[in-house]
């Protein structure tokens, strides 16, 4: 393995410990930011769905504020968001650099997108099912849990897949605050030193990550479509 690397990908072999570290950092960022964004996204997407005009808990004020806030955050380019959030990040996690420092802006960059994906999935649920559940005496909480969420598992899985993959893209920029990760590795060690093998290897690893996420997402979606 070591020998093969040194022959064909000499620069990758040189920086192999950095590569390993970068993979770890990317995974940490995707996992942590992904998990937090998932919960926040499901929460916000659900609030958007139930508070809209024809929802089960119509509340124009909540809907309008949330809707506009999501649009605002989705409009800010991530690299700008990264710097704008520095003070908040420091306040929340004690540091604005490294993987920990990157998670806050990643969550802010991903959650609004996630919330829209969830909103779209929940919107696909047939209103007739909601009506049937109301007619059989379900509470709003039961409707959210057992109808909205349960019936849109496939849609949520597809939305999560798309979001996680775009999150991987965002982690590359998190390198700008010293969070490391594969994007940073490819940029510093590969692009800036003109070592193309490093870029190619990074791309291959990213393709693998994306494929695994896509396959898992598709499998969950398929299992929940009848």
């Amino acid at each position: 393995m070591q020998e093969w690397l040194e022959t064909y990908l000499p620069n990758v072999a040189d920086s192999f410990p950095v590569l390993q570290q970068s993979i770890l950092e990317t995974l940490q960022m995707v996992l942590a930011a992904g998990l937090i964004s998932f919960f926040l996204g499901v929460l916000l997407g659900t609030i958007l769905t139930v508070t809209r005009r024809n929802g089960i808990l119509p509340n124009p004020a909540v809907y309008q504020v949330l809707d506009k806030l999501i649009n605002l955050f989705r409009s800010i380019p991530f690299i700008i968001l990264l710097f704008c959030l520095l003070p908040l990040t420091r306040l929340l996690v004690g540091t604005a650099i490294g993987v920990r420092g990157a998670i806050v802006p990643l969550v802010f960059g991903t959650t609004p997108f996630f919330a829209r994906q969830i909103e779209a999935s929940l919107w696909e649920v047939d209103p007739g099912l909601i009506e049937a559940a109301q007619a059989m005496g379900n509470s709003n909480f039961e409707i959210i849990l057992h109808v909205y969420w349960r019936e849109s598992i496939a849609g949520i899985a597809r939305g999560t897949t798309i979001t996680l993959i775009s999150l991987i893209g965002l982690t590359a920029m998190a390198g700008a605050v010293g969070a490391g990760g594969l994007g940073n590795y490819a940029y510093i060690y590969g692009q800036q030193r003109n070592r193309m093998d490093i870029i190619y290897v990074t791309v291959v690893i990213l393709v693998l990550m994306v494929s695994v996420i896509q396959i898992i997402g598709n499998t969950i979606a398929k299992r929940n479509t009848h």
Binding site: A132, A135, M136, N224, H226
Partner: protein, 347 residues
């Protein structure tokens, strides 16, 4: 059983305000099958949703089983709804759950354990005639089977009332009939009160004991099926009844001057309709014999509504004018409705 008192439902405000239901009062008895018929947009779906408060009336009260639903708290209303089953035009089954899962879902919180729930689901599926489909998903079923699952689900909490919102409108005529038979059977065996919304008079005729006709949000006419069929007062009711019989075709044929309606001098076309419950006499042939006229039947349509024949015939009468006049007088005396549709009177 179900008492609607001065129920109104408005949507929107100001210029866009829509009066979907206007001051409707209805009284539906325990154990009856009550039909509400109207064209699309008449407000019948909104009205039926007022019964379980899926739509809260803007004014008026709704009493089901001696409980004023409009006065209940949210929690009490949810409990009350468990005793009011509902089925829908598009079935509204949950695609991610199996047939058994869909039926079991509505029993959540009923206090039954896993085994009792499974037994009850099996019993209900057997009752609606799809015991073998327990593990199928709704997408694998036909429309009629889906509606049977929906009925089983609606019955899961042993309701006293079953609301049917256009429950057969998405089904073919044969399946419609089988679902109606099932509803009738459930009504007879379980004593469940059924409120049925439809735009098809044939559905009402098939199983309802009483019917209310809706137009522009109001109930314009109501009564038992037989009297509604025999003497519809409102134009909209007459329009509905016309859809169930071919006796009205004659007017189109006359308008088109179809060969069958071309008369010889002295002949006339009449529509005879039976309005009495006892139409056992051979009136046409006795009129023909007694008055020495020919009665040539072109259409006949006799239906059994609530065990009594109603309907009539369209016929061409030929013979001497004074005998025809006497024959018509005889028929009228025997309580047969006579309408002269076309008259080729000799000048």
């Amino acid at each position: 059983m179900i008492e609607l008192t001065h129920v109104s439902k408005d949507f929107g405000k100001g210029q866009q305000e829509v009066h979907a239901v206007r001051d409707v009062s209805l009284s539906i008895d325990k154990g009856e099958i009550f039909g509400i018929i109207g064209f699309s947009g008449a407000g019948k779906s909104t009205l039926v949703r007022c019964i379980n408060l899926l739509e809260r009336p803007t004014a008026g009260t709704v009493t089901v089983d001696d409980k004023d639903l409009t006065a209940l708290s949210a929690r009490e209303l949810r409990q009350a709804r468990k005793k009011i089953g509902m089925i829908f035009q598009h079935f509204n089954l949950m695609p991610s759950r199996t047939v058994a899962g869909n039926v079991a879902y509505s029993m959540r919180g009923s206090g039954l354990n896993r085994k009792e729930t499974a037994d009850k689901v099996a019993h209900l599926l057997e009752l609606v005639g799809i015991g073998d489909k327990a593990n199928a998903y709704p997408s694998q079923l036909s429309g009629g089977q889906k509606q049977r699952v929906a009925i089983a689900r609606a019955l899961a909490n042993d309701p006293n009332v079953l609301l049917c919102d256009e429950a057969t409108s998405a089904l073919d005529p044969q399946t419609t009939r089988s679902i109606l038979h099932l509803l009738k059977h459930l009504n007879e065996t379980l004593g469940i009160t059924i409120v049925l919304i439809t735009h098809e008079m044939a559905v009402v005729k098939e199983i309802c004991s009483r019917v209310a006709v809706m137009e522009h949000g109001s109930v314009v006419e109501q009564g038992d099926i037989f009297s509604i069929f025999v003497s519809p007062k409102q134009t909209v009711t007459q329009d509905f009844i016309r859809t169930t019989s071919n006796l009205q075709k004659i007017e189109e044929l006359i308008a088109e001057n179809a060969p069958i309606t071309q008369l010889k001098p002295g002949e006339l076309i009449v529509r005879l309709s039976y309005t009495e419950r006892n139409t056992s006499e051979a009136l046409i042939s006795s009129a023909s014999r007694q008055f020495e006229i020919d009665i040539n039947i072109i259409f006949a349509n006799i239906e059994n509504v609530q065990g009594a024949p109603i309907g009539g015939t369209v016929a061409i009468i030929s013979g001497a004018r004074e005998r025809i006049t006497a024959a018509i007088a005889y028929l009228i005396e025997k309580n047969v409705g006579v309408e002269v549709l076309k008259d080729a009177r000799v000048a």
